[in-house]
Subunit: 394 residues, 4 copies
């Protein structure tokens, strides 16, 4: 494995040097006023990145998994009913968490590769008005499927549901369009290591006023992840415990970079890079796990390998022989897909390095893929962009 090659796992992503440096801070007294000068702009930056003017941002020194737990434990009580769609590994795990926390989960099962079925959500909510929360995975990292969150909200409204809408945006936020306020999201969850291009270590959550109000009645126990302590800490320019100062400093700079580029530019850049990867997949004669174009994720492509071929071998071979990391298939699609992560700070030449390497690795293992075919297809997509990608510049 060479640290000079880009990585193509769907996170942690390639970190621009200035963000790494922002995280690698010398020790700062987190009880000094300087800390607030890092914390508050970071929180405000996150709000802008997710598209909220009214939401409240809570950042924990943890990971996205803890972010899921933040959503549940700050709003719900044991025995509460929640509705969740299961269409990949990460939605599956979140459901498992609900069960372990004593929630009563209704699961809408979908094939992996499909998106959230808003109609089924509406139906389930009509059938059970007691449902307190709907869990939606915006972008299934395991299958490369993006779901329509606005449609889920419309379904909830149509059903006259009063439930909260929790959205896992771990692999979508800061990379693909996300509209917290417009979509009526109640809790959004992400981490530092994907679109924010930072090391792992931050669970980033955003609460609507309605979700935040639920905290007093929420019966699930919590202390480390309690938003009330966090809120009190922020108000005093601090944290309820030792904050991850360096990562917050990185988050602050990351938001500034994203917002300077403009979120529309960020989303367009991700779409552009993804289109090149998808053109390569087509040129290879392979198919995506995502079953239809409107589900194609702009942050990760899960690529089905031919029947009888173990996709894990491909990932292992690319790592061992070429020092390049792709993602394996997880859960139900383990061995059936390999994944190319294309989110975060990834230039066209970096993407082409990954595509060319995938090509070599597939040929090495006997897949019938033409040398240079995917690269050529991606090159033509990339050439089509009139102007250089903004994020390329540091």
């Amino acid at each position: 494995m060479s640290f000079q090659n880009p990585v193509f796992i769907p996170g942690p992503t390639n970190m621009p040097e200035d963000l790494r440096r922002a995280c690698d801070m010398p020790t700062l007294d987190h009880r000094s006023p300087l800390f607030g000068e890092i914390l508050h702009p970071a929180l405000e930056g996150v709000a802008k990145v997710v598209g909220t003017k009214k939401g409240e941002v809570f950042v924990f020194p943890a990971t996205g998994t803890a972010g899921w737990e933040v959503a549940l434990t700050n709003t719900l009580s044991p025995g509460d009913k929640v509705l969740a769609t299961r269409n990949g590994m990460f939605s599956h795990r979140w459901i498992d968490m609900c069960e372990r926390h004593g929630l009563d989960v209704t699961v809408i099962r979908r094939e992996w590769g499909e998106g959230i079925d808003a109609a089924a959500v509406e139906e389930a909510l009509r059938a059970d008005p007691a449902i307190k929360a709907v869990l939606a995975t915006h972008n299934e990292t395991a299958t490369g499927v993006v779901s329509d969150i606005a449609a889920v909200r419309r379904a909830m409204d149509a059903a006259g549901s009063d439930a909260l809408l929790f959205v896992d945006g771990v692999s979508s936020i800061a990379s693909m369009p996300f509209h917290f306020d417009d979509w009526g999201v109640d809790v959004a969850i992400t981490g530092s290591q994907k679109g924010f291009m930072l090391p792992p270590g931050l669970a980033i959550t955003v609460f609507s006023a309605k979700a935040a109000d639920a905290v007093e009645g929420a019966g699930l126990p919590r202390t480390f992840l309690d938003i009330r302590d966090m809120r009190k800490g922020y108000a005093a320019g601090g944290f309820p415990y030792t904050p991850p100062v360096g990562l917050l400093n990185g988050l602050n700079l990351s938001c500034r970079r994203l917002l300077d580029e403009g979120m529309k530019g960020v989303w367009a850049r991700h779409h552009h890079i993804a289109e090149g990867v998808r053109a390569a997949v087509e040129a290879w004669g392979l198919e995506l796990c995502a079953v239809s174009p409107e589900l194609y994720s702009d942050t990760v492509s899960a690529i089905r390998t031919p029947e009888g071929f173990d996709a894990n071998r491909l990932v292992a071979h690319a790592a061992t022989r070429y020092g390049v990391a792709f993602g394996t298939g997880l859960g139900e699609v383990a061995g059936k897909v390999f994944r190319i992560g294309h989110l975060g700070s990834l230039t066209e030449p970096m993407a082409l390095a990954g595509i060319a390497t995938a090509e070599m690795a597939m040929r090495d293992l006997g897949l019938e893929v033409e040398s240079g075919s995917g690269t050529a297809a991606a090159e033509e997509v990339y050439r089509g962009a009139g102007a250089p990608m903004a994020m390329a510049a540091e």
Copy 2:
């Protein structure tokens, strides 16, 4: 605030450059075998640092507060009885966490500045054999008081108690003597940002077999902090979610450095630096918060300022005027003490810079302290050491 001055808060501590660099890693695929080569030696290193051959180490991407929660939620059920001594801010907070998690806490109140009263522990356990866990804060960071954990264990044994012994070693482990196996500790908790000299971001916990066995019956809900998922992840060379690869890489190197120096050397070094600080305090004519010498902490000194003087002003002035961070008093001793943290990687010259600065700051604010008095006293202590401090060399 200058990043060139050492910090004298009792953590996060001054980070040696090689540890900072070990943490600041480029993105590594955490599902590749390389990750196991970082993780496993780090876990083994921690076991050696805390003095256990039988304990099981679990490291979470979180903070010490989460570490407390790991201990509680993996071993206890709502309504379970626990016994805790309250003698400072951090023991106070841990008790609060117990209450918020629905545990039934018996509190032994002690003056801040005193240590744990083992006799009272014995008495309480005799009075209530249903107590399932004893919570002990080894080193109260707020008061600079170290308690005798071996005595607590003896008290438990004398009472014939079957309770688990949970020890908060956040500001003692990797700095002061800690003997997990010999003391019969069941869960020990610390963080990355104190004796390990790393950035914050790791909750480091160690479980005895007895504590680990309690996990199946533990009724408190948990997922992010469940040691069973963690154990399963480790066994496969991974984590149940995205691991903080850089911090674990730093932890690995930190343990290697500590163990190369030898834990006895590490403890002696901390004692030596602390003795200099205490000599300075005496020369200034001030008193420690800790009420007797056997309670003096080798990692932090809480220094009482004269009646009527607001100690917070001193901390603010030292930061603003000299760019040096000391710790304020917390909770019951807020405004009454200031704290000099002297743990982690701190050389004699660095300690002297802090002592001299404290001296200047006290004089600036009108305290009757003789210029150079504390420095002179500390110099004589430091000169007494025959050999250079090992950790000084990188």
Copy 3:
């Protein structure tokens, strides 16, 4: 320009992170014994890299241009005769330096793209036995031409010449076969920023005993670049003036990495990467500046663009549009060639990123190059290697 894309200028080259970090040292007292522990292994490492057991290494805080001057001023006097072959920009500049230092230069002019004509060297030496030094540019960075230094030495011997042999190995040493002792080199010159993969800032020179003996009679004035002061400094574990400690620390580590890989491995790796680039050039239907295969450089390829096309536009476009740096043509081949540097730490995926980018840039500017053609050709070359490239691993 993105710092995440690799560079394809023929130096300064892509720096592996560990070498950058070795250079980025905190201030070390260069008069302490610690400095000698950095300096001496670095000097010994260089000797092994260039293949000498008897040569003496002198490293100056300067650049390769100063290295040329070190060779001249430490061995020659004004009016001395020297013989030089001119077949590119760098040999041209070295000749200019001779003239400015009052030497009497006989120039053997060759077309740019050709190598050194050993027969002409022999002839010139026979014609003028007073020639004191022969200047040979091992690898012409401007044209991508490697010359046969062993043949030059044979020509000198055949002519019975007593002249010193000075070899500019700036873009060959540490990348292509170099045999100081076996080839009878008297002074070899290189820099830190090419095969050693470090920042610029070191002029690295190696002297044979014969060359070193010439220093006492050398009439050209020098102080900063005098090898006698340097030698005296080294003997005392120091430098005659402030040494570039960080760069020397980097040089030490760089040599260790190169020697751990084995010089044969290093050379094979460079040849392998170069073969891929050359396959791409052929697939594009373009020609190298180097006129025949035995002259092909394994560190840089100068590629002729079609008549009437300004090659500089290509370099500017690749930089502006794709953030990738290639080399322009220099001197006589300005506008006629563009250069792909492929030396130092360059993996196969990195090379493919450069090839794919060149392809896109050429098509953007209307050159008739097939998309993916060069990439496909290079992929097939790279796949041919049975094992991963050693240097890829850090």
Copy 4:
């Protein structure tokens, strides 16, 4: 030696982290326009720092010693007469360089510890109107003596001399008042590793128009150090050879920091820190090498140890036992003085760490110095400053 302790050698100095990072750049194509955006502001910054509106700045990838050579070889011819005052090791070495370059040097010998005798300069110039250059060492780093350059210029004018005035400002520029234009300096020389707080590796020179005009007639040979090539390179946004991009990037930021603070602030800060050190020396009952107060250097103090005591032992002991680097005595004062460098980025607490360490080391070796005496004296000086030092903040 600990990298966490500050260094007290009179250069290379303690580097603020942001300057180190600015120097540690990834590879940038130095032929791209981006390089000019680093180079030109750096050159303009240097001009402002030395106080010139008309002078021309030339920065070479070399050291201060090369800077001396730049001055001589670009303006003089073999046999030219120069006048130099010798009052320390560095003026001694510059004179040696003149001799090795075939110049005819008249030396005005002064005791080490004294400054330049302007009257003697005037006398010598009257005696020999053919003298082409006067060499003046502004701050003798070996003795801690600053000389009056304005007085030297007045002496030259009084003598009606047409000679050029060359000033070695290696350890004064960017730390002590320097007025290139006002003092009528013709060539000023410094390096990157002192007041500019960067790693070594840059010879920074400034030429008056008169000095620059001398270049065409200058008969001393030079290529690497020729200002004409440099000027031509700069005009095209580049360098005549591979530039030290990272160091220039650091120089750019260093100038910005210095100029943002304001040169008067920089000088006052150095004076303030130096006053503390001098108060300590007096409290120890020791004397400076500099014979009178107006000669006291604000960047380095050379401190005489008692007769019969080998000052080198002190430096060795402080390094070995406490990990702190002081400067040894050089040349005529070797073993008689030790030096405390107090230039660059040095806070009051850092200075106190050095003073306290010197105190301990002296006592360890049996010198009769009172513990805490110097520290107390310095503390009182430092407390006297009403406001925090600007540079302390990063």
